[in-house]
């Protein structure tokens, strides 16, 4: 009730490209998970029904490789955009608003844990990207590289075994499977719960789809960012003000 008194000023948190890539990656990731697990758990009867629906053994492999290339292209586009942002737009990829992990993340993490156990009254002062958001981002970014490499090992075993020991193919299968299991649990359950069911954002934090956050949300969830924005105009480089 009290919130309605605050002015509903909104700020842009995610650009159009970031929002689009998030949706595309979510689609690609889900496709990868379904086709990959349909293959990995093919010894289970119900999963075989799914794999029959997806076009049998060949269909699953083709779909899985399609989604893999599709998702990796999204990662490449994001990387190219970072270069464009840095070199052409002369933007800053470091500082308080950046995705790069820093010492403050560890501190805010420890403070957050203290807050969990009521050793603090308020959550720590998160910057534009809190430590768990950075973890989500880097887990995916690094995970895509390792999944890509192990995936290529299985896609072209003849080529890779010509200069590497044969058991690398077996290791690739092992790592690909366990990393997929981890990624699916962390992304599809943990990430989804954190951005939807958490009381602070319930029913959902839709800023990744709308791109907008209200002033109140910034103050509540990213106080460090708000401080930086109001302290100097430096914050304007990363947070463009948008009038509504």
């Amino acid at each position: 009730m009290r919130r309605q008194n605050l002015e509903q000023e909104t700020y842009q948190r995610f650009s159009v490209l970031q929002r689009l890539l998030h949706i595309l990656i979510a689609i690609g990731f889900t496709g990868l998970a379904i086709t990959g697990f349909a293959r990995a758990f093919s010894s289970v009867g119900i999963v075989r029904a799914l794999s029959w629906f997806l076009g049998g053994a060949d269909g699953i492999v083709s779909l899985h490789r399609f989604f893999a290339v599709f998702t990796y292209v999204c990662v490449v586009v994001h990387g190219l955009w970072l270069f464009y942002f840095k070199i052409i737009l002369k933007g800053s990829l470091t500082g308080r608003g950046s995705m790069l992990p820093c010492k403050k993340d560890l501190e805010t993490f420890l403070e957050h844990v203290r807050y969990f156990f009521a050793q603090r009254k308020e959550p720590p002062s998160f910057d534009r990207f809190a430590y768990w958001e950075k973890m989500d981002y880097w887990a995916f970014f690094i995970g895509m590289q390792t999944m890509g490499i192990t995936g290529l090992f299985m896609w072209f075993p003849e080529f890779f075994s010509s200069f590497l020991p044969g058991y690398f193919i077996n290791l690739a299968q092992l790592l690909h499977f366990y990393e997929a299991l981890m990624a699916v649990i962390v992304k599809m359950f943990i990430h989804t719960i954190v951005v939807t069911l958490r009381p602070e954002v319930y029913p959902a934090d839709l800023s990744i789809f709308t791109g907008k956050v209200t002033k109140e949300e910034i103050i509540r969830h990213h106080p460090g960012e708000w401080e930086a924005m109001s302290a100097s105009t430096e914050g304007a480089a990363v947070v463009k003000k948008e009038t509504t």
């Binding site: 990995a40 794999s51 075993p157 020991p165 193919i169 290791l171 958490r198």
Partner: protein, 299 residues
């Protein structure tokens, strides 16, 4: 009032539809399960005994043959068959007394390959055991002849490649269970047996149908890999297919090392995955609890 009745009617219709959809879903799923069961029941039964089920024999690949074609005249050694005087004859294992050389009359190529293959060599070794252990092994697991793998009376003709492949996984696996398990865990077994891809490799595609070679050295294995993997080089043969199998790894130091590395990495990765997931689950759970607590305090 009228409107309410109208609404409840619609609700009932909708409930009926949902119920119908659920039932249809369950029926479909049970059909799938039944189809799977039926699919896996196509295994050969105990192949040969003195008693032949003529109904099943009539449907087999050998149905066109008369008994005499394989069993000769019914006067074995001038004694009528069955011999009512000699009760012991029926107690002997027919698979051990039958002369499988007669199969060669039609299946000459398969028979020649069998004679050159590992199973025949094992039989020769077993006939003259050098140690007590070998003798015991020969008694416990006698080397197979035709009848041990093929059901002469009930073998089905015109099976698809996948059906034959699924059957042979069970047949070979009854003596080589570790190989069967590791094959089914491997990508060849999963695509071949579970996903039913005809182009996948089954037991005999690598090891040969009747020679049954174990492909221990690389020179032997490479052309076998190259049948499907055209660009394979010598390094490709050291990809472990039957992983985690102590019987086989004993014979090759390289394979032993590879298997050990795979096992150790597998254990480390499992622990790491469990730790990561445990961290995130706990972190999220406590976080949500704390925020619920904070919200309750605020209001």
């Amino acid at each position: 009032m009228d409107q309410m009745r109208h609404l409840s009617y619609h609700r009932r219709v909708n409930a009926n539809r949902v119920l119908l959809a659920c039932c249809a879903f369950i029926c479909l799923m049970s059909l799938f399960v039944l189809a799977e069961r039926a699919h896996s029941e196509g295994m050969p039964a105990s192949s040969s005994s003195w008693f032949i089920d003529m109904n099943r024999f009539a449907q087999s690949a050998h149905a066109a043959l008369t008994c005499q074609r394989c069993h000769g005249t019914m006067m074995e050694g001038m004694r009528p068959h069955p011999d009512r005087q000699d009760s012991a004859s029926l107690k002997a294992d027919p698979m051990k007394t039958y002369d499988y050389g007669r199969c060669a009359a039609c299946h000459q190529q398969a028979y020649d390959r069998y004679l050159r293959g590992e199973h025949a060599k094992a039989m020769i070794r077993q006939k003259e055991p050098k140690t007590v252990e070998e003798q015991q092994a020969a008694l416990a697991r006698p080397a197979p002849t035709c009848g041990d793998c093929h059901s002469s009376h009930y073998v089905k003709a015109h099976l698809s490649r996948v059906e034959i492949g699924v059957q042979m996984t069970e047949t070979c696996g009854s003596c080589h269970p570790a190989q069967r398990a590791s094959y089914l865990a491997d990508i060849h077994g999963r695509t071949g047996v579970y996903l039913g891809k005809p182009a996948a490799a089954y037991c005999t595609d690598c090891h040969g149908a009747h020679n049954c070679v174990s492909l221990k050295n690389k020179e032997e294995a490479l052309p076998v890999c190259q049948r499907c993997h055209k660009g394979a080089t010598a390094g490709f043969t050291s990809v472990v297919i039957h992983a985690g199998q102590p019987v086989m790894t004993k014979q090759s130091a390289e394979k032993q090392r590879s298997t050990a590395i795979i096992q150790i990495v597998g254990r480390i990765v499992k622990i790491a995955v469990i730790l990561v997931i445990a961290f995130f689950v706990l972190h999220t759970f406590v976080w949500i609890l704390r925020e619920v607590h904070r919200k309750l305090r605020e209001y």
